[in-house]
Amino acid sequence: MSYIAILITFIFINNFILVQFLGVCPFIGVSKNSENAIGMGASVTFVTTVASVVTWAIYYFLLVPFNLQYLQTLTFILVIASLVQLLEMVIQKISPALYKALGIYLPLITTNCAVLGIAIINITNEYNVMEAFVGGIAAGLGFTLAIVLMSNIREKLDLQPVRKAYRGVPIAFISAGLMALAFMAFDKSLLTNLHLV
């Protein structure tokens, strides 16, 4: 599959939040204002990209040679947890400004399904290292797109009269559902029409 096809697949056709429901907790939790949403999206994109490459390397250079594929889940989550910690320390050292912007979101990312999800999906789809890298970026961008759109909708919703029972989370889910409905317009035929498959 070409890299552009992978990008389109993970951003639009199989959007991580709206189609595959990976990373719904931060999607609902951190989408109250657009500034936080952009911060969260940027952090997730950063981590999915790095984690995709690192877990890919660990799977093919460490687990496969020793026939330890069944340890995939255990290894990946530990690698992701340590990676997030490491990134936090590195960013704090290199760029205090970036740390200030992303710092509070990084610890939350360890338990974000999107990161472990893309690591496992890369392996299931038998991507090579470049495809895994692009997959990581695309998964993060898809997450960012959904969470930024959602935060803008929620900022508008705050000013609208919403029935008491629907206020907050329920109306957010329903808006997300309508967004997912719009995203259904993207499907596999898009790739065929663009001559990418």
Binding site: Q20, L74, L78, A81, K164, P170, I171, G177
Partner: protein
């Protein structure tokens, strides 16, 4: 009501993990297309939650506080791997239907959340009751969503095949008039939103009384 049964039943409705605590939503939305998948997922979560609560509660004086999260994750990931292997061997259909959501039990907030909030501070017996209550609450919520989505979305109820029974029940009227969107991705989010609104309305109505 004595303390033990309170620990057990609080997860059913009052602190239902899906509708009240809003934990572990990714698998809830992802696998609720068929009732059989919902039951398979609930069984996986029950197993992992029960044993992680037992192990973590048993080790609560041994695990140093500074590394407690990594230690919990190792325990949970091991249990998830066991679940994956058992399901792959005995119920391959459910295993392939659950797909990526099965390994994702590791990052399911319910399990780490209960380990952190409950099992690390309470005795083994209380932790077992808490795990059972939470897992049953999770199963109830997930099965409810799956039932609504499958019944209205495709007019069937899929259970496990046994003997002559193929495992799929067709519901007469709904089968001919399905609301397809409910069994697709947007349906999960819409149903979740409406059910959450219903639960919020219900609890606020009780408070007002």
């Amino acid at each position: 009501m004595n303390k033990g049964s309170k620990e057990l039943t609080k997860g059913f409705f009052k602190e239902n993990p899906i509708f009240v605590l809003m934990l572990g939503l990714c698998p809830v939305l992802g696998v609720s297309t068929q009732v059989s998948n919902a039951i398979g997922m609930s069984a996986g979560v029950l197993f992992v939650l029960l044993f992680s609560n037992i192990i973590i509660s048993g080790l609560r004086h041994v695990i140093p506080p500074s590394i407690h999260i990594p230690a919990y994750i190792v325990v949970i990931a091991t249990l998830v791997t066991i679940t994956e292997m058992v399901m792959h061997a005995f119920v391959p259909a459910v295993y392939s239907a659950l797909g990526v959501y099965l390994p994702l039990i590791v990052v399911n907030c319910i399990i780490l959340g209960r380990a952190e909030a409950f099992a690390s501070k309470n005795t083994i017996v209380d932790s077992i009751l808490d795990a059972l209550g939470m897992a049953i609450g999770f199963a109830l919520g997930l099965t409810l969503i799956a039932l609504i989505r499958e019944l209205f979305g495709s007019g069937t109820i899929t259970l496990f095949p046994m003997g002559d029974f193929s495992g799929v029940i067709n519901i007469p009227w709904f089968y001919d008039n399905p609301i397809r969107v409910l069994s697709l991705a947007p349906g999960a989010l819409l149903i979740m939103g409406f059910l959450k609104a219903f639960f919020d309305w219900n609890s606020s109505r009780k408070k007002d009384r």
